[in-house]
């Protein structure tokens, strides 16, 4: 049975729902509904039929919309006559052939004789629940009425279908009444708000419908990735986090927001970042290696994708003061940068040890007008800087937004940060299509601190089983050395910074102080999405020692003329440990440049 998802409204949402490969997507051209479609349809697969939904519209309007939006089907929801349908079907004004779907609202006592005059002038019927509104009443009708269906014309079954009806649909599919049922049409039951579809619930529905047992790697509506995630926060933080949770998807779906975000990414950050075929590195390791050049972004790392998104979010929420934590200083710089750009007050918490080992970034933050506050507690690194930022937020609950720098923290942060970073894999897709003729590489590889560059690099590939996902953690001096940050190996389920995830801790539940030469990977947890990817085996986790990482950084410098951040160097060390096939396409997230680490490289190699 085919699937139609109706009532699409927002560009991002259209793209993500199109990713689920429904057979039809519906756009409602009827002003009296909150799902009224009034923007552009983004590029989506030709296999999805774009369907315009009309209620007693003029012929001219329908023709105009078909031509403008390249619609493949027209669904008529009003009292359009058989004659109207026949004219629409044959008019030469249409630039393309269309399918006509005529809607009938059904309730007890429905007389199927009304279909007869339409038998030869439309392609499908659609049966909806009869209620107050012309469609979208939100409840199902009694499908057994279709036992009396007199026709052989294929039809769409519609009206209030949600995930709760899965069993009923399956029963229906087995019944005689479904003999000519061609497709299921869904809408309101999969919405976060009118026009905004929840892709994870819809995915679950599709999988159940097709009896597929595939895993969902996105966040669910309660804020969990499998068993990980959630919002384990003190009550003092609840109003802030809840405000964000209620608004983030809505705000991100606003065309104005998207326009501003895209514009800044393009003109200010310098996106799209190149996807560069690394010829000499590829030769050396006898495979095809592409580098996603996040190091070429303004401020030198992927972090700015997220800070641009979050500063726009903060503005929409009426916040005037920004706080952030930073490890390597890249996120601190990226935050200080966007605060300068927007004229907002900026306070960055940074561990005392990191302040010492990332001095250039401290200077940059100060120059950008931010106040850098040393975190003096605990291990005086990223974990403690995050604690301090959270405490600041508790003390300043009204005017402050906390820009978390990785895919960590309480829901909705991991998901929000992931969505802002998802631009990375969105670009990889079309860039790889241009260069390799295919969107999917064989592997995507990224280093993981909290996991934001990784989340962005994986995002559009999470549900593409032919794309291997490799996550690279910092092993520090070695997994068993007691000086490590390899969470997937050393961590256990626990709670850190407001989410349930894999966490390095003592038997007693005290969080362990991690170690890595790279400040940005020196974190005792991973984002909940990555914990889920690790636990389910969707991603392969590799741990890389300080020395392997440093060597790999030097090698990339010599072979490709690119000095990477030490965080990033970890990802490049995998070639020493893992062999790829000659025709494998391996896309590496080159998350940041090495300027900030120059002194560390100099000291390490005695350059």
């Amino acid at each position: 049975m085919k699937l139609k998802v109706c009532g699409m409204k927002y560009q991002d949402n259209i793209e993500s729902i199109a990713g689920l490969k429904p057979d039809y997507l519906g756009f409602i051209f009827y002003e009296k509904t909150p799902r009224h479609f009034n923007t552009k349809i983004p590029e989506i697969s030709d296999n999805i039929k774009k369907t315009g939904v009309f209620v007693n519209a003029e012929m001219g309007t329908i023709v105009e919309k078909v031509n403008e939006f390249k619609l493949d089907a027209v669904q008529l929801h009003g009292e359009e006559s058989p004659y109207f349908c026949s004219i629409l079907r044959s008019t030469s004004l249409l630039s393309r052939p269309i399918e006509i779907i005529k809607v009938f609202s059904v309730k007890e006592g429905f007389n199927f004789e009304v279909l007869e005059p339409y038998e030869n002038v439309c392609d499908f019927y659609l049966f909806d629940t009869k209620g107050k509104l012309p469609g979208g009443n939100g409840y199902t009708f009694d499908w057994s009425l279709l036992n009396d269906y007199p026709s052989t014309k294929p039809f769409f079954l519609s009206g209030g279908i949600g995930i709760d009806q899965i069993e009923a649909i399956k029963a229906f599919q087995k019944s005689e009444a479904s003999k000519y049922c061609y497709a299921i049409d869904v809408n309101s039951k999969f919405e976060t708000e009118p026009g905004l579809k929840n892709s994870s619930i819809l995915r679950e529905f599709i999988n159940k419908l097709h009896n597929k047992k595939t895993m969902n790697y996105n966040v669910d509506d309660k804020g969990y990735y499998g068993e990980f995630g959630g919002a384990y926060i003190p009550e003092m933080l609840y109003p802030n986090v809840e405000e964000l949770r209620q608004n983030y998807l809505k705000v991100m779906a606003e065309p104005e927001f998207q326009k501003e975000f895209d514009q800044l990414l393009k003109d200010y950050v310098g996106r799209p970042s190149p996807l560069y075929f690394a010829k000499r590195l590829s030769e050396k390791y006898n495979t095809k290696i592409y580098l996603k050049r996040e190091d070429l972004n303004h401020t030198g790392a992927h972090k700015i994708n997220n800070t641009i998104g979050q500063i726009l979010m903060a503005k929409r929420l009426g916040k005037t003061r920004i706080i952030a934590e930073t490890g390597a200083g890249q996120h601190g710089v990226a935050t200080a940068t966007v605060c300068a750009l927007m004229g907002m007050e900026c306070i960055v918490y940074m561990g005392e040890i990191d302040i010492a080992r990332q001095a250039p970034n401290v200077a940059r933050m100060k120059m950008l007008g931010a106040k850098v506050v040393p975190a003096l507690s605990g291990s005086r690194t990223l974990k403690d800087a995050t604690n301090e930022a959270i405490r600041d937020w508790i003390n300043n609950p009204v005017n402050t937004h906390y820009i978390i720098g990785s895919a960590i923290g309480p829901h909705p942060y991991p998901d929000m940060v992931t969505r802002f970073q998802a631009v990375i894999s969105e670009e990889i897709k079309w860039q790889l299509r241009e260069q390799e003729g295919r969107e999917n590489p064989d592997y995507v590889v990224a280093c993981i601190g909290g996991g934001s560059n990784a989340a962005g690099t994986y995002y559009h590939y999470l549900h593409e089983p032919d794309v291997g996902i490799i996550a690279v953690e910092a092993a520090g001096l070695g997994i068993d050395s007691g000086e490590s940050a390899a969470t997937s190996v050393l961590g256990k389920e626990g709670i850190i910074h407001g989410c349930k995830t894999l966490l390095m801790q003592t038997k007693d539940g005290q969080i362990t102080e991690p170690y890595s030469i790279s400040a940005g990977l020196d974190y005792p947890g991973v984002g909940p999405m990555h914990a889920h990817l690790s636990k389910t085996g969707r991603a392969e986790f590799l741990s890389i020692t300080d020395s392997d990482a440093m060597e790999a950084g030097l090698e990339l410098s010599k072979l490709e003329g690119i000095i990477p951040a030490i965080e990033t160097s970890h990802a490049f060390a995998i070639f020493k440990h893992k062999t790829f096939k000659p025709d494998d396409v391996v896309v590496m997230s080159l998350s940041g440049r090495g300027d900030k680490d120059l002194q560390n490289y100099i000291d390490y190699f005695k350059i």
């Binding site: 384990y232 003092m236 109003p239 007693d508």
Partner: protein
């Protein structure tokens, strides 16, 4: 009846004291509890130290770090509390962050608390809905009262929800802050105290955060059933040791 509920029925304003277990010295726990009771304290929060106490300011952070260095763990604390009910009869509450309890196992933790005569728990980072969904039945099975926090930012609707799930008292955080950050109450606080007082909640309220002396104790208990002192007490033992608890409680209760 749970000792907390019994205590709340008494016709007086309650003084509750928080201290960090294992601080200043690892084995001070029992003698601090006994001394507090002897000196007229009505209820005690025993702080189970955590490496990353998000809701706490420097005083309690430092005492927690020191306690952990001293070797305090969940096991050690439970060991120390064995037999505590032979000498102490006021309500005892364990206050700590969720992760150490989660690692111990929530059911095992609650069971142990019941065995030892612990009456309730305060877990700032265990959200109400997770508690309600997953753990409430376990807490109830072992006769434990879970105490939730509200703050000046908590909406009325949410306060009512929290009230409906509580079965002891509501911990009213006096202002938006970490522990020990502020001292004294301004108009904003008193307006908030009044607002909550007028809501006629089912559960009595006990005010915490920002109470450090007789003046703030009196102010807070004008509006609430009791008040909790944490940082000020921890500071006192840091400075004067644990032999002068009487002088501290006297200064509060006058």
């Amino acid at each position: 009846m749970n000792r907390i509920n019994q205590k709340l029925k008494e016709d007086k304003k309650l003084l509750s004291i928080y201290f960090t277990a294992g601080y200043p010295e690892i084995n001070d726990t029992v003698s601090i509890i006994q001394d507090l009771e002897k000196n007229g304290v009505d209820m005690i929060e025993i702080g189970l130290p955590f490496s990353d106490p998000l809701a706490d300011g420097p005083t309690i952070q430092d005492s927690s770090t020191a306690a952990l260095k001293n070797g305090m763990t969940t096991e050690v604390l439970f060991k120390q509390l064995e037999g505590i009910r032979e000498t102490v009869s006021i309500p005892l509450i364990i206050m700590g962050y969720f992760n150490p309890m989660f690692q111990y196992g929530i059911e095992a933790f609650c069971k142990k608390c019941q065995e030892l005569g612990i009456d309730g728990l305060i877990i700032p980072d265990l959200p109400v809905d997770v508690y309600h969904e997953k753990y409430q039945s376990i807490f109830e099975k072992y006769g434990l009262i879970n105490v939730f926090l509200i703050t000046p930012q908590t909406s009325d609707e949410r306060i009512r929800y929290i009230d409906s799930i509580s079965n002891g008292f509501i911990y009213m955080v006096s202002s938006a802050s970490t522990t020990g950050a502020k001292s004294g109450f301004g108009e904003e606080q008193t307006a908030y105290f009044e607002r909550i007082g007028n809501m006629n909640l089912n559960n009595p309220q006990v005010i915490g955060f920002g109470i450090s002396n007789n003046e703030t104790f009196t102010q807070a208990t004008k509006y609430a059933k009791g008040a909790i002192i944490g940082s000020a007490f921890v500071k006192h033992v840091t400075k004067h040791g644990i032999k002068t608890i009487d002088s501290f409680t006297k200064s509060i209760l006058n």
